[in-house]
Symmetry: C2
Subunit: 379 residues, 2 copies
C-alpha cells in the first residue's frame, strides 16, 4: 500500500521510520513546509501532488491542530483516499462530517492514535461492539496530567514544580493549557462516547474541570482519606440517555486507576457479556503513537474500509442524571455548598452526592469570586 504522510514532526518522522521497515507499506510522499532530501519518499510542499496521484491509497495526517489538517483530511476523503490520523481535535470537532464522508466514499477513516496514543483502545472497542453493547467508558486519557498528579502524590511536589518537571522531561508542552484544563481529555472522551454508543455528542456540552487549581493541600486531604487524585473522563449510556464529563477524581488507593503511574493511560469499557475490559499503556510519545498509526496502516492494507462506528444518533448530553460525592476546596462562602456538605476535611469539604451537571454549574458560578476553586469527584 502506498501512503503519503502529512506533517514531518515528532510522530510523522516516527511513522516514516517504522512504515519504511514494514512489509507491504511504502511511504511514497512526505508533505512538509520544507523539503527533505535525506528520505526515500518524495518530499513535497503541496497537497495537490498527493491528491492527484492515483497510486496513493492512504493519506496519514500528522500535522495536528485544526487547520490545514481538517481541510487536508476532507480533500483526501473526497479524492477517494483512506485517511489515518492521530488528530483528536479534528476528529472530535468534525466527527459527523468526516464519518459520513468516509462512508459515502467507501474508504477507511482510522484514528486509533487519537485516543490513547499507544493503547489499542478504539480497535478493541470496535471489536467488542461487533458482539456486545457497551454501556460505560471511563479512564485516564491524558499522560501529562497523570504525570503531574503522580508526582504531587509521590514526591509531595507543588503543582507548579510538577508541571515544570513534566515540561523538562517532554511530557508537557510549553503551553500546557489543553492538557491541564482537560480539553485534550474532553476531545478523547467525545470520540470514545460517539464510537462506544453509536451517537453524536457535541463536545462543548461535556462538563470539563481540569487540574490547574489542584494544590498540595487538596492532595493531602485526598491522601488522608485513602484516595489518589486522577484526572478522569467518564461516559455512560443509560437506556439511551448519554452522560459525559471530565473532572479530577478521588479514587480509592487500592483501585486499578490509583496504580496508573507516571505518564501512563488506562481506559475501560463495561460491556454486555464480557463485563469490564481495561487497556493501559503509553498515551503519547513518538514511537508509541507511531506504532499505533502504523497499526492502522496495516489494518487498512488488510482491507479495513470504514470508520469505527458510522451510527450517529444525535444526542444532547445529560449530566443531571448522574450523581456522586464531591470534594470542594474554595475560599468562597456559598450557601449551596453549606447545604450539601457531608463532612469537613482539613482544607476543603466533602459534599453529599449531587448531580455532575449541578456541581459543574455551581463551580463555574463560584469561580467568579474564587478563581482557584478546585473540585473532584469522590468514589
Amino acid at each position: 500500500m502506498n501512503i503519503a504522510i502529512l506533517g514531518f514532526g515528532t510522530v510523522g518522522y516516527g511513522v516514516y521510520d517504522m512504515a519504511s521497515h514494514t512489509e507491504n507499506l511504502t511511504v511514497k510522499y512526505v508533505l512538509d513546509l520544507k523539503k527533505h532530501e535525506d528520505i526515500t519518499a518524495k518530499s513535497v510542499t503541496d497537497i495537490k501532488e498527493i491528491l492527484e496521484d492515483s497510486s496513493v491509497d492512504t493519506v496519514v495526517e500528522l500535522i495536528g491542530g485544526e487547520n490545514p489538517a481538517y481541510s487536508f483530511i476532507k480533500s483526501a476523503l473526497l479524492a477517494g483516499k483512506n485517511v489515518i490520523t492521530a488528530n483528536k481535535l479534528v476528529i472530535s470537532k468534525h466527527y459527523e462530517e468526516l464519518t459520513a464522508l468516509s462512508k459515502q466514499q467507501n474508504v477507511a477513516l482510522r484514528y486509533t492514535a487519537a485516543v490513547g496514543g499507544g493503547i489499542p483502545w478504539l480497535v478493541n472497542l470496535e471489536r467488542t461492539l461487533r458482539i456486545s453493547r457497551v454501556h460505560r467508558v471511563r479512564g485516564i486519557f491524558n499522560g501529562t496530567t497523570n504525570y503531574i498528579l503522580d508526582a504531587m502524590h509521590k514526591d509531595g511536589e507543588t503543582f507548579e514544580a510538577a508541571l515544570k518537571e513534566a515540561q523538562r522531561l517532554g511530557f508537557a508542552e510549553a503551553d500546557p493549557s489543553s492538557d491541564i484544563d482537560g480539553l485534550d481529555t474532553q476531545r478523547k472522551i467525545a470520540i470514545s462516547a460517539n464510537v462506544a454508543f453509536g451517537v453524536l455528542v457535541n463536545p462543548d456540552e461535556i462538563n470539563v474541570s481540569g487540574i490547574r487549581s489542584v494544590s498540595a493541600e487538596a492532595v493531602k486531604d485526598c491522601e488522608e482519606h485513602g484516595y489518589v487524585c486522577k484526572l478522569m473522563a467518564k461516559a455512560r449510556n443509560k437506556n439511551g440517555a448519554i452522560s459525559v464529563w471530565v473532572e479530577p477524581t478521588f479514587v480509592k488507593k487500592t483501585s486499578s486507576y490509583a496504580a496508573v503511574a507516571q505518564n501512563y493511560n488506562r481506559i475501560s469499557y463495561d460491556a454486555d457479556h464480557v463485563g469490564r475490559g481495561s487497556f493501559s499503556g503509553f498515551g503519547a510519545g513518538r514511537y508509541p503513537t507511531a506504532y499505533t498509526v502504523v497499526g492502522d496502516c496495516i489494518d487498512v492494507a488488510n482491507g479495513v474500509k470504514k470508520a469505527y462506528n458510522s451510527n450517529m444518533r444525535p444526542v444532547h448530553i445529560d449530566n443531571s442524571i448522574v450523581a456522586h460525592r464531591y470534594y470542594v476546596k474554595t475560599t468562597a462562602e456559598n450557601d449551596w455548598l453549606k447545604e450539601n456538605t457531608e463532612s469537613v476535611w482539613r482544607h476543603g469539604v466533602l459534599l453529599k452526592p449531587v448531580s455532575v451537571g449541578k456541581m459543574h454549574e455551581m463551580a463555574a458560578e463560584i469561580q467568579k469570586t474564587d478563581p482557584n476553586i478546585f473540585i473532584a469527584g469522590v468514589y
Copy 2:
C-alpha cells in the same frame, strides 16, 4: 459461516446463545454426549456427521480436557475445517503439531479464550507482532488463585476458608488442583511465550510453584513489608534465550498488579516502539469466555486463516539467567537458605537475589522434608 460446537457445557451453551444472535454466524451442529431437543442447531453425538458435512466451515471445541478434544481438533483440521477452541491443555501440549497442521491445511486455528478468558490478549499480542518484537510477557493469568489471595489480604482469611468461599461462588472447581498448583497458569504462559517469541517451549520445563501452601502468616509478612501476593507467570526473551516461570510473587502495594482484585486477570507485554501494554478483564466465566470465542468466530468469518504465530524455533527454557529476591517460609533447616538470607522477617526469610532455576530446584529439595514450604518472588 456455518459452525459446529463440540461440547454443550457452561461455555458451549454461552457460545451457542451468543452466536445464534450474531450476524453471519449459523450454529449448524451441537455435539454432546446426549441429544438436545430445544435448540435450533442439529444435535448430534457422533463427530463424523460434522466432519463429513462440507458446509461446516468451522469447528468450535469446548469440551475441555485432553481427550477426545485433541483428536476432535486434529480430525477437524485434517478435514479442512477452521478450529476455534478455549482448550489451553490441548493447545499447550500439542502446540507444534496443531500449529503446523493448520498451516498445512491453510485453515484458522484460534484459541484467544484459552489464555485470559474474556481478555483479548492473544489477538492484541498478534496485532503487536505485526510491527514490533515482544521481549517480555507477564501477568496474572488465573482468576481462582487471584480471588483466593485477594480474600486472604482483604478479609484476613485463611487459605482454606478463601478456597471454600471461591468454590461456593463458582470461582474454583471442586478439585481446584490445576488452578492452585499453577498448572493452569503454566499452560497459559507456555502458549503466550510461544506466540510472543515465535518459539516452541516444552511446558514441562517451566518452573512452577503454586499457592497451596500460602498461609495467613506469609500474607502478614508480605503486607508488613508493603507488598501484595499474586500468582504470576513471566516469560522473557533475552537475545534469544528464553526464561519462563510461574510463582507466587510479592508486588509493591502501589503496583498495577497489586490492584487486580477478585477474579480479574491482567496480562502485559513489553515491546519495541510501544513499550508496555496491559490488558485486564475477566479471565473466565461463561459469558466472558463465550464472548471471546464468538469474537474468534467473527475473525474467521472475516477471513483470518492462520494460527497466531507459525514460527516455532524449538528452545530449552533457561531459568538460570534470571534472578531476583525470594521470600521463603519453611520449618526446614537448610544451609543454602542461611547463606543466601538477606533479612529475617517475622514468619520467613528474605533471600538475596538468586536465580529462578536454583530457587525452584532448592524448593523441590526442601519440600522433601517440609511439604509446606512456601516461596514467593519479591520485586
